[in-house]
Amino acid sequence: MSVHRRKNKLFETELVKEAVKQSFKKLNPVVQFRNPVMFTVWVGTLVMACVIGWIATGETSQGSLAYNIIITGVLFITLLFANFAEGIAEARGKAQADSLRKAREDTPAKKIFPVGEMYVNEVHIVPSSKLELGDHFLCEAGDIIPMDGEIIKGIATIDESAITGESAPVIREAGGDKSSVTGGTKVLSDRIEVKVTTQPGETFLDKMIALVEGASRQKTPNEIALTILLAAFTLVFIIVCVTLKPFGDYANTPITIGAFISLFVCLIPTTIGALLSAIGIAGMDRALRANVITKSGKAVETAGDIDTLLLDKTGTITIGNRKATNFYPAIGIKESEFVEMVVLSSLADETPEGKSIVELAASNGVKPFADTSNMRFIRFTAETRSSGVDLPNGTKIRKGAFDAIWNIVSKNGNGIPVETEEKVKLIAQNGGTPLLVCVNNEAKGVVELQDIIKPGIQQRFERLRRMGVKTVMVTGDNPLTAKYIAEKAGVDDFIAEAKPEDKMNYIRKEQQGGKLVAMMGDGTNDAPALAQADVGVAMNSGTQAAKEASNMVDLENDPTKLIEIVEIGKQLLMTRGTLTTFSIANDVAKYFAIVPALFIASIPSLQALNIMNLHSPESAILSAVIFNAIIIPLLIPLALKGVAYKPIGASALLRRNLLIYGFGGVIVPFIGIKLIDLLVSIWF
């Protein structure tokens, strides 16, 4: 599948401009209050501004004016950086969604005005924004579909490349599971009548845009729990800093307000506090980049926890159709002769199976006949379950399901050779489908059809297994075939001869065992199971009911998308966890920078604690605050891209991340603060 992914650089000029504007707008205390960590920095900056005023009026105990102005400035920049992180994440998400939305804005719509049963309905062109829920509109070849809806009449080929990037046209028709059309896509042929199924401004895309924008963005449960932890850390450090004042009094060490606030801002987890909302937004944005529209941030998070994945066999595990893989002539029949007959019978066979027979024969060196004028072809029907050809010389060749051909053969008093019958059984046992071939009512051999497992799918399942996700194949095949394919593809379990309620029951059973289940579906009869699943992904081509019941919609209709979604969910949580660890680990170095600086004037022996050998108390404090500020923009790319997920098992992953972000988080600030100090010490 040729997928064109909207790619853009992390920092496009347009987006950066918007984000900078937002950084200032978000200084509003009401906005800041949503994030307890950054709110305390906001208050600290305000206090420092007052201190500057105080010094300006002649106060001398708080250090030099320049020093205090710089601290205030750095704190202010810290706030801006945090706002910028959120701003750029929002801008990216919005730009992504906008590009999808743009396509359908103000397209002319041929709205149908019903005028009763006697007269023909009138059609008027109105702007798409005037369409409302329940309206009907008409689309003909060349029209852009103005609005999401469901086809109520007609069939059409539609170019969905604007949404999915897939250039091959798809067929959509009224009734059944492929009745949904998306605004912004183009009708290539035929004519359809469509009913609007969503209120303007309430399409999935609109919901998604609202999720990305600050206003309606709800914190997810996990984000709330993390915010509580971060608030607790902030409180601990408020206690540490406030009690330091009487401690200082006791030790006859005056501590300036600037030093207090610097220590406080450095200790609280500003890094993760500043990036937390950006991480959440970026998670949804990454889903959107994978052409998946999520209805809530929670759904992305839940995806990371999925234990069981229900996948349809056809299209996900196997390439849509079966292919011929072998010819087995009956004893006494020459192979070349047999192949020739089979090819003859398949010449006019338009089914994929028929085509694959011709292909296989061609690869065996049998060329199709050029002249087919006098042949009479018998098409495949569901009743006869066979197809074939009557040659001009009267030879009748038939091929089809075992029982269908057996009927023909036995009716004419012939039997089927034992070897051929055994071959048939063997093929079925190996997950294949045997096609029996008879010539003039005599069985001549078997063609083996096999499901072709998608290349690379085994590795993907292996990857899922290492992530701890159990894969379940859902198929209408009989248990024997299903088992064979399941083993070959490497799925953990399968549901054979599956009916819609089987999926539902399987999901329920897994959930009762405490597992989280994801599934993908498109049909209306999938809707209950999609609703029951913890993460239900509907294909965009699916019915409205299926889309309503699910938490995500995949614009590309790609059944393997679930695998990607699981990884996006995991990445989201991991990014939060690793940056929290990094942020807190940074405290070690910051303590060693600031604490000696606070007391060194009155207790010179504490110089021994100044293990970074920072130049002076002022330079030490400034370096720590500056490091604390610039680490935020440095980590924005990581927050937006997410920490790479590697399916190496939970323990190994923890070891790896703990080493990089925990141990790294201890070491990096020691180096960073020292380097900044070298620079700052020129002035302080």
Partner: protein, 566 residues
């Protein structure tokens, strides 16, 4: 010197070797399985159940557990206040010791009910035998209350999805009769055979070689000492605690008592492993605790054995190390070992003067109490550790890309809220208490001159130590602090009370809520909590949350003092 080191290595190895089978035994007791003491002790349990009208198989949910715990503590609180304030005229007072003042009685009662045993009085002159017996009773029941709460958490961790977490009274009584009582009898007998008094007679009198008349206090000492060590109580019979020659007569009793101090706290973790059938998990917990313990121990032993640099500077050699404030029969290594064991476990009995330890060794004691979960008090030590596990699970769960779960239960906002409050509480109480005292002293040194025997950094350490010891429910004193004043009695009393019950309520609530949740089976993506990596994570959380928040305070106390001495 090598003998001294060998002595403490032996003590630790022997403790660990004992803790494993005893942990198994404790696990069996809480699980209600058969043990070899059933035949002897079953009738005793029956008497208690009958007296209390308790049906031991009546299951309770976590709220009922906490209600039971708090109610019985309230009853003891009132009973103890009454006895301590009236013991002067009550029986069993051959030495005519006076009743306590209201604020001292409050402090003492809270101190014993909360398993702290901070003593702002001296045993010989401050309490009657009735008072001592009352306090001894509390040494049993406060320890058992902590163990019962811990058992509740164990059961909650074991269960898949349930509200029923066993019967609190059953855990409580069995903790007393099946665990503490038999062990206390064994320890007390060893002490009696080594010369510790065990009677109800008044002071003995003799005339020393110098011709002075000496009064020697006697009484039911051995019984109290046994339980004070086993139950991580620490409240001594005599004022100078286990440094007193009758309370801790020789190196052998020192070994016995010191093993008793950390035996049950370690055994409780093995009991956990037995109950939840995850031995590796128990070893992870013990491993993290031991790692922290060894850091503190090494620091203390090293500094004590190297003596005081200021004494070296005036040309006096210290071949034994720093001997100030130590008993010659124990020496610096065994004293330092005791110092660290007694502070990490919230025991608080002392066999040397903590005030006289070198500054960094003193910091080991402070850090042990600040963390309060490197083994920790009986029962409550694991409860504190549990909170750190929850926080570590949360962060590391995120790091592996899954909503954090612990033993199959999801950790969500509510549990994080409780865990955060509990983790916050300890720094809050210690730092704000010390800040209040520093503030008062700094702004009016004359009015509070009676508080501090030492000025400067050491004085600061004394105040910090007192609040740390109260908040950790440890009960040891840095001494040198004039602490029997209304300020210290009431401030420390309040801190002890809050620091005792909230850290029990929190973990029991978390465990109860988790037990009620849906059980999620393990998969390859699930974070394993019984690995070394996770252990390091827990250790890091403890260091950053518990230890580093005290870094500025420690800098002004022991660290400044240490560098000042060089």
């Amino acid at each position: 010197m090598t003998t001294e080191i060998a002595g403490i290595i032996f003590m630790y190895a022997f403790t660990l070797a004992l803790a494993i089978p005893i942990g198994r035994y404790i696990g069996k007791v809480y699980e209600g399985e058969k043990t070899w003491l059933d035949n002897i002790l079953h009738p005793l349990d029956k008497i208690f159940f009958k007296l209390g009208g308790i049906n031991p198989i009546n299951e309770m949910n976590w709220k009922q557990h906490l209600a039971a715990l708090l109610t019985i503590n309230l009853v003891w609180f009132i009973l103890s206040m009454l006895i301590l304030m009236n013991m002067g005229w009550l029986p069993l007072n051959p030495d005519d010791n006076p009743s306590m003042s209201a604020d001292l009685a409050f402090n003492t009662t809270v101190s014993f009910v909360s398993n702290t045993n901070l003593q702002h009085y001296s045993g010989e002159t401050g309490v009657s035998y009735l008072g001592q017996l009352t306090l001894m009773l509390f040494q049993f029941i406060s320890a058992a209350a902590g163990m019962a709460a811990c058992a509740t958490v164990f059961i909650a961790m074991k269960e898949r999805t349930t509200e029923n977490l066993g019967n609190f009274y059953n855990f409580f009584i069995k903790s007393c009769t099946r665990i503490l009582l038999p062990m206390a009898i064994v320890v007390a007998l060893m002490l009696v055979f080594n010369g510790t008094p065990m009677n109800f007679e008044g002071k003995a009198q003799y005339i020393s070689l110098q011709g002075d008349t000496v009064h020697v206090s006697r009484g039911p000492a051995a019984a109290m000492i046994a339980i004070k060590q086993l139950g991580t109580n620490g409240g001594g019979y005599y004022g100078s605690n286990a440094a007193h020659p009758l309370e801790n007569p020789n190196y052998f009793t020192n070994i016995v008592e010191n093993i008793s101090i950390i035996l049950i706290p370690i055994a409780m973790v093995f009991a956990l492993g037995y109950i939840i059938k995850r031995r590796r998990f128990a070893w992870m917990v013990v491993g993290v605790m031991t790692l922290g313990f060894l850091f503190l121990l090494f620091n203390a032993v090293y500094n004590e054995m190297h003596g005081n640099p200021m004494i070296s500077r005036i040309g006096i050699s210290q071949p034994l190390g720093s001997m100030e404030g130590k008993e010659v029969r124990f020496g610096p290594a065994a004293s330092a070992y005791w110092e660290v064991t007694t502070t990490v476990t919230s025991n608080g009995s002392v066999n040397a003067m903590h005030d006289s330890f070198t500054p960094l060794a003193g910091m080991s004691a402070l850090l042990g109490m600040m963390v309060n979960s490197f083994y920790g008090g009986v029962g409550v030590g694991y409860l504190n550790f549990y909170v750190f596990i929850i926080i570590a699970v949360f962060i590391s769960g995120l790091m592996v890309g899954r909503t954090p779960e612990f033993l199959g239960k999801k950790i969500e906002a509510k549990e994080m809220k409780i865990a955060s409050i509990i983790a916050l509480l300890h720094p809050l109480l210690i730092l704000s208490g010390t800040a209040l005292a520093s503030y008062l002293y700094a702004h009016n040194p004359d009015a509070y001159s009676g508080w501090l025997n030492n000025p400067g950094n050491h004085g600061f350490s004394e105040m910090l130590y007192e609040f740390t010891s109260s908040s950790a429910n440890n009960g040891s004193g840095f001494e040198g602090l004039g602490d029997n004043t209304p300020f210290w009695n009431i401030a420390c009393g309040t801190v002890m009370l809050v620091a005792r019950f909230l850290p029990i309520i929190g973990p029991v609530a978390i465990a109860g809520i988790l037990a009620h949740k849906k059980f999620i089976p393990e998969s390859a993506g699930t974070l394993k909590t019984d690995t070394g990596t996770f252990g390091i994570m827990v250790f890091a959380v403890i260091i950053i949350v518990a230890a580093l928040s005290f870094f500025p305070a420690l800098t002004l106390g022991p660290i400044a003092e240490h560098f000042g001495m060089k």
